[in-house]
Amino acid sequence: MQKSLETGAQLSKEDLIKLSDEAKNNATPSTFKIIWKEFKADKMALFSLIFLVAFIVFVIVGSMFINVSQMMQTNIMNYFAKPFTSNFLLGADAGGRPILEQLIVGSRNSILIALGLTVISSAFGICYGLISGYFGRVTDLSMQRVYDFMMIIPSFMIIIEIVNIIPNYNAITLTLLLSLFYWMGTQRLIRSQVLAESQKDYVSASKTSGSSNLKIIFKQIMPNISSLIIVDTTISFAENIGVETGLSYLGFGLPVGTPSLGTLIANANDADNITIYWWTWLPATIEIILLCLAISYIGAALRRATNSTQRRSTD
């Protein structure tokens, strides 16, 4: 024993570097490396990612230069100003409010709400699924009854009712309210994976060696399903854009005077707008479609990256 240790210590420095390099090459690459490789192999996904990031940065920075209250002021002189004119690149609506500026601020609001909603509801759904799937038995049974109940609730109608109750609400309260109703899908997915995962040997080994349940759940099981979490979060981001804009479209989303992509699309509810003044609603519609397609495409690439049999990149 002593002898072998001594011979080990006699390794030259070059050998050591060479050996650790070799070990590094043979090790499974990190998740981010795999994802990056997949994006490099799929140019469309890379393009979607760049488009999405650039767009989000653009609307956030762009909206900093826009005075919202001034923008939302009615100006009858600009009633349905035509697009592609010097002051109104995308025209103006019935109140003479410029569409382009509304689009930028509205996109920022919608995207940030969707992001917030995704973060909160996914975090909650992940914890819920982890706990429900890990403990099983009575815990799982009762937690899944709550889930069943949440699934039959006509959530959209109840959200609309609650929005009418809250006297003063803003983007943050709206996000929190929506999060109450949109964690179920994530929960179900995570739970089913955790059910399978908690039967594995490493979990039993950890249990026998006395790790606490919390440690097993969050430090051992969660990293092992991280790829699933990444994919699911991306896809729910696309869905959540639809949730907020849909609510605003029906007129129960963000309060009046706060533009959202949904309120812009709601311009299409007017028969004149939808036929003659197409610029009041069409840009926002196209933007949502592009955004959602890009996010889903990124989600699809991520899903391929996490499943080694479907990767397009070659190792």
């Binding site: 039959i152 609730i153 109608m157 109840i158 009418n164």
Partner: protein, 319 residues
Amino acid sequence: MWKTILRRILIMIPELIILSVIVFVISKQLPGDPFTGSINPKASMSQIHHLMRINGLYDPWYQQYWNWVVSLFHGNLGNSYQYQEPVTRLIAERAVNTFWLSLLTMVMTYAIGLPMGLYAGRHEGKLQDALVRIYTYVTMSIPFFVVLVIGCWIFGYDLNLFPTNGSVSPSASGFLPVVLSKIYHMILPATLGALFATSGITQYLRSGVIDARKSNYVKTAQAKGVPMKDIYKHHIMRNAFLPIAAFAGYSIVGVLGGSLFTEQIFSYPGMGLLFLNAVNFRDYTVMTALVLLYGFLSLLGTLISDIALSVVDPRIRVE
């Protein structure tokens, strides 16, 4: 088998009670009183208070809830404040429209989804499959209402192929013209709705067909020399279709959820539009009844699907 069904129905009862309490309490919290605007504008505050007392609006909430539940079992949901009509009658009128629209949407969903899923599964990895996959990818990512708006614009206004509001043309008279006009009004919303509801069915059926094709019983049938056409007819389709048929209940839930948008965009006088109007007019009784009805229908839909799935697939039965 019966245990599963019984258990499933027993679970339903507390769910329904909790749902009704939540819905009721929320409805009571809504601001504004329901008489404003519907009564003589010269009425004094004391007269309004008197009206509210008569209608039981000052009772504690549990008292009001109890009254509401009792009258619910008598088939009486109160009067709509806005229309001055019994809620049950008001909803019944609209429910017919929503029922037919939902039914047509479901029929279209299966009519589009089944062949597509089968076709994609049959030609796995080929061009046809890729096209179907692009289709499901697009329909799954874009928000539902956005496409309704675009479809309404293109086919309703621009090409002027379909009507864009109402459920029946006012000039239609006589049984057949009215029915035809109703169907004509429903085609566009139902098709657009169905295009979106198909993605789940298509994907599920596609993977079902692919799995079945690789299974041993298909290989056995092939080895016996059964022609591929018959294998599809008797082995693959049978196994892949059954779970899809059982999904019908879940589809109802989805279609109902979408009815808010469909009816708003096409000004289709169904329950969804009734709800949106009721919210704007603070018509408590209508709102409460509708949310409860939607919840109940969702419950029923999932119940049907859960039971149907446990009949079809013995693995998920509870012992």
